[in-house]
């Protein structure tokens, strides 16, 4: 009986540990704040969704780049366009299963046309897309297609040495 209790307690603890990936819910105004971040740092935002095959395919390489990056210089955020109504059913289990430890936010404002151009005026809304910016440096670079590890690394390196 005692063993069972220990087992249950342990399973709960493991459950809590493995669901440590928290997803911040952001609105359009939160996004605006994120995009206007005044810190002198390179910010990288990847727009993705768990329903988007090419997005999911590039995440393992993004995780590697996140791991190898100096977090004092580069900041990563992964903004999910998952359907908010299915976040608990799809997004959270996906993150839990994949074990990614990067920051994920879920945009809850799905009136996409009201914020797409805020990210980049030429963005058609296709994902995956990745934005690189450093506001004090007036740096803004947008890649609206899947990118591999090499391209991601070289883009970050070239933007850091500007």
């Amino acid at each position: 009986m005692k063993n069972l209790l220990v087992f249950i307690t342990l399973s709960f603890m493991t459950f809590n540990l493995s669901s440590a990936q928290e997803v911040r819910k952001i609105s359009k105004s939160d996004l605006s704040e994120i995009l206007n971040n005044p810190t002198h740092k390179l910010h990288v935002i990847n727009f993705w969704a768990s329903w988007c095959g090419p997005c999911v395919s590039e995440l393992p390489e993004f995780q590697q780049v996140v791991n190898n990056s100096d977090s004092s210089k580069v900041d990563f955020l992964f903004i999910s366009l998952d359907f908010p109504s299915e976040a608990d059913k799809k997004l959270l289990p996906f993150l839990k299963k994949s074990g990614y430890n990067f920051n994920v936010a879920l945009i809850t404002d799905i009136d996409y046309n009201s914020w797409i151009e805020m990210v980049d005026p030429n963005w058609q809304g296709n994902i995956p897309s990745t934005l690189f910016y450093n506001n004090p440096e007036k740096l803004h670079y947008f890649i609206s297609e899947p990118i591999n590890k090499e391209r991601l690394t070289s883009t970050i390196d070239s933007l850091l040495t500007k």
């Binding site: 329903w51 799905i110 058609q124 809304g125 296709n126 670079y141 500007k162």
Partner: protein, 201 residues
């Protein structure tokens, strides 16, 4: 130096993009096409003698975003076919990349989900390229003017993928209703989120 390289790379890609996509803009006359329907018959816009226009939807069997909109695509056909603006659905995904979008799967989908509109297979992807369709679903509303079909609206169906009843901007329905009133749509272009069309490599 690096700034310069980046600059030229951007210019080069812009030039490449504009030369690759000679796609329709709002107000352009669109060229009729002939594609195989799920009933194995070829379908062209010119066959619809009484049509005042069309709601052309690039969609997919498998894309979760398109699936979210499927019942709304059916509703659009129900609402506007009788007003001579029928829905024409087109599947353009490369079957090699997305086997779930094969012609046989399109036939199955159309039958299982009781599609009331043609579901055409754009096997060469030429029609999607002509229209500049990028995602599924991606809608193009055309209207007949002087016996030609003119592009009047392109983009999303509405502004709430999650819940049709919460969409307060019904772009496609509003566009068609304006056209039925003899006016151009107030919003002629929106960005359509969705799964990228899987292009042949």
């Amino acid at each position: 130096m690096k700034k310069k390289t980046l600059f030229f790379a951007v210019i080069l890609s812009l030039v490449l993009i504009s030369s690759l996509q000679a796609q329709y803009k709002i107000g352009d006359v669109i060229t009729d096409f002939s594609l195989k329907n799920v009933d194995n018959k070829m379908v062209s816009l010119s066959q619809f003698k009484t049509a005042k226009g069309f709601i052309i939807v690039f969609t997919s069997n498998t894309c979760p975003f398109a699936n979210k909109y499927e019942s709304r695509i059916k509703m659009l056909d129900k609402e506007f076919k009788g007003k001579n603006y029928p829905v024409i659905a087109i599947g353009s995904n490369d079957v090699g990349i997305n086997p779930g979008d094969s012609f046989e799967e399109m036939q199955k989908k159309s039958k299982d989900d009781s599609f009331t509109f043609p579901y055409l297979h754009d096997e060469t992807q030429e029609i999607a390229k002509n229209f500049g369709a990028t995602n599924t679903p991606h809608v193009f509303v055309v209207a007949k003017e002087n016996n030609q079909m003119v592009l009047k609206y392109m983009g999303a169906i509405d502004n709430n993928v999650d819940d049709a009843s919460k969409a307060d901007k019904k772009y496609v329905a509003d566009a068609v209703n304006s056209l039925l009133d003899g006016k151009n749509p107030a919003v002629s272009s929106t960005k359509a989120i969705g799964c990228g069309i899987k292009w042949k490599k």
